[in-house]
């Protein structure tokens, strides 16, 4: 009996460890500095995590499907630059859907290469990271992109506006998370994503169109990237060409922290959201505790390794690896 309970506790920790860690973090930070749980502070943290978070939602689909996406950072720069440029050329009402179409065309291209041609996703998206960066620079001519009339446009609403006191980026992040969570956990498509990532060969034999599912995950990822680009552009109404540089790895870190396995077949939208929030709140909490801004990177490093390590250890029932 005692053993069962122990197993139950260990099992619970293994399943929900990241949630427990999150709660512990919040309590410790809140005790250390009451300003941490101030509503303005909490909104501020979620708002600044929203861009990373929206991208992480899409990458969650790709990772559960058993692939990687290293191109989201430079793709986000691309959509930010494009939408800012189109804003002045054809107006935001037309510019936003055109930007979404262009970004999703890139996603479709990656999905075609990885899904239908079955090329290694790490190398393909690595190549696309570089290629899309080149595309962005060619598009903008290497110059920063700015909206000419920053006062007289309603375009700022996606990044700066708020509805009933809640900032719009948070609302977009939450809505997208709810919709994608339903798609992933309650629809046949979502189950097929798990099946393809869990065991691609078995999925193919049971009649699941593997190529199309992988293609769709990249399309969804690029949709999320376009949304992130929209928020980014709207928030600053101007941008450098490298605004998303390096974000691909932070996004991946958030997804992994949420417990999605890089081998595919495991992970949920809810856990990814927790992963994003942990990264955001750690950064904020350390700052409030007076630590140097960059110390958060070191802490993030330790947390990622610990999270994944404990996850694996719980699964194999041993703390240390069996590698000789």
């Amino acid at each position: 009996m005692a053993e069962l309970t122990k197993k139950g506790v260990a099992g619970f920790l293994a399943r929900q460890g990241i949630l427990v860690a999150f709660v512990v973090f919040m309590i410790v930070f809140a005790i250390a500095n009451p300003r941490f749980i101030d509503i303005d502070n909490i909104f501020g943290v979620i708002r600044s995590s929203a861009i990373l978070g929206v991208m992480a939602l899409g990458v969650t689909f790709v990772v559960i499907g058993g692939n990687l996406d290293l191109s989201v950072g430079s793709m986000m720069s691309f959509s930010t630059i494009v939408v800012l440029d189109l804003h002045d050329k054809i107006g935001p009402t037309l510019g936003i859907p055109v930007m979404f179409a262009m970004t999703m065309a890139l996603g479709a291209f990656i999905g075609f290469l990885v899904g239908y041609l079955k090329l290694n996703s790490l190398i393909v998206t690595l190549g696309m990271l570089s290629a899309i960066h080149g595309l962005t620079l060619t598009y903008s001519g290497g110059k920063n992109m700015d909206i000419a009339d920053k006062e007289g446009t309603w375009f700022g609403i996606f990044g700066q506006g708020s509805i009933a006191g809640v900032p719009v980026p948070i609302i977009m992040f939450a809505l997208l998370a709810i919709v994608l969570s339903i798609i992933l956990s309650r629809t046949p498509f979502g189950r097929k994503v798990y099946a393809v990532g869990g065991n691609g060969i078995a999925a193919t034999f049971s009649g699941i169109p593997r190529a199309r599912i992988v293609f769709m995950t990249y399309l969804m990822s690029s949709f999320c990237v376009a949304t992130a680009g929209l928020i980014q552009a709207s928030r600053s109404l101007g941008s450098q060409n490298t605004v998303g540089q390096g974000m691909e790895l932070e996004v991946l870190a958030a997804v992994i922290l949420g417990g999605a396995s890089l081998l595919g077949g495991a992970g949920t939208i809810f856990k990814t959201v927790i992963g994003v929030l942990i990264l955001g709140f750690i950064q904020n909490g350390l700052l409030l505790m007076g630590l140097a801004f960059y110390a958060q990177y070191v802490v993030t490093w330790i947390i990622i390794i610990l999270a994944v390590w404990l996850d694996i250890a719980a699964k194999r029932g041993r703390l240390w690896s069996p590698i000789a």
Binding site: S130, H133, W301, I305, S321
Partner: protein, 333 residues
């Protein structure tokens, strides 16, 4: 068997054939398009090209071994930056200033030691926790970069030592110091991978880890050594580069891991491990640098370089798979 060796020769020769094509293309296109009078195949230009390949090249050599092992290292860019800071900052320490030029080898030693220690941390974590190297080094990429920023904030770290600059800018038998380091490292690692037990084990582990374990190879310590080696090489790359430039920004070395992996993959090394060669990686490094210089030479914007390299990488992946599939079908019939 004979067919297989021929296929191998074609594969190993492909990157050099690509380099020849690049040279021919840029020389001919340069005649018509170039804004400058000098020819692309100018001897000094080629020497400079080798020198400029050195920083990424030295890292890519180490990445080859890591990838033959079936691992990957995303933290080399951050290791590069931290080693550079240690190199330049250590020369300003009081006791170092007191010993004159003897400070130089000591500073080099500190920087290289930094690289080895950072590599060892990665290797130990991979060995002891069993977490995938991709995740471990993704984490340490953030962590090491954090250390870089904590060292000196967002300020550049600078220290110019003229003896050191003279050494780094020297040319011996026509080749620059950096080129000698690149070629020397390539030679040593080629010997390591082809003539020693360690090299043979690296291929065996990458090919089939379980079989290697059953054959009595100790996989964990083997990983550790290789991560220490790539840490050392990332630091060596920093030492060679910053001896000359004398100033390092905290963002330096970002995306170097991706450039190094690109060069290694262009050279034909398999991501899944068990296959690859040091010499081909050297070819991959030179091919990328040629592309950069060549596109500049024919007046293309520097931004198109990223576009072209990205597409070439994907094309290589596609071609490689088609060739392999063809090979397997031939074996069946």
């Amino acid at each position: 068997m004979k067919k297989e060796t021929r296929a191998n020769l074609i594969k190993q020769g492909a990157i050099w054939a690509f380099i020849v094509v690049e040279l021919a293309f840029f020389s001919i296109a340069g005649e018509f398009l170039s804004v400058t009078e000098t020819a692309f195949m100018d001897f000094d230009n080629m020497l400079l090209l080798l020198k400029q390949s050195a920083p990424i090249g030295i890292i890519a050599l180490g990445m080859t071994i890591i990838m033959i092992n079936g691992n990957i290292d995303l933290s080399v860019g951050a290791t590069f930056a931290l080693a550079a800071i240690v190199l330049l900052d250590s020369m300003t320490w009081p006791f170092m200033a007191a010993i004159g030029d003897w400070a130089i080898p000591l500073a080099w030693g500190f920087a290289l030691l930094t690289g080895v220690v950072l590599g060892a941390i990665n290797g130990l974590i991979v060995w002891k926790t069993g977490v995938d190297a991709f995740i471990v080094t993704l984490g340490s990429m953030l962590g090491y970069r954090g250390l870089v920023f904590m060292y000196n904030g967002e300020q550049p770290t600078s220290h110019l030592n003229w003896t050191l600059v003279d050494f780094a800018e020297a040319q011996f038998l026509g080749l620059h110091t950096a080129t000698w380091f690149l070629l020397g490292a390539a030679l040593l690692l080629w010997l390591l991978m082809t003539k020693t037990v360690h090299g043979r084990n690296a291929y065996a582990i990458g090919n089939n880890r379980e079989a290697a374990v059953n054959a009595g190879i100790r996989v964990g310590p083997h990983f550790l050594w290789n991560f220490m080696l790539i840490g050392f090489l990332a630091a060596l790359s920093a030492v060679v580069f910053y001896s000359e430039s004398g100033s390092v920004n905290p963002n330096d070395g970002m995306l170097y891991e991706l450039w190094a992996i690109t060069a290694v993959v262009l050279g034909g090394t398999k991501l899944s491990g068990g296959y690859g060669s040091i010499i081909s990686t050297l070819g991959g490094v030179i091919a990328i640098q040629l592309l950069r210089k060549g596109l500049g030479h024919i007046g293309a914007d520097t931004e198109t370089v990223n576009l072209v390299i990205g597409l070439i990488l994907i094309a290589v992946l596609f071609l490689d798979r088609q060739l392999n599939r063809k090979g397997r079908e031939e074996l069946k019939t």
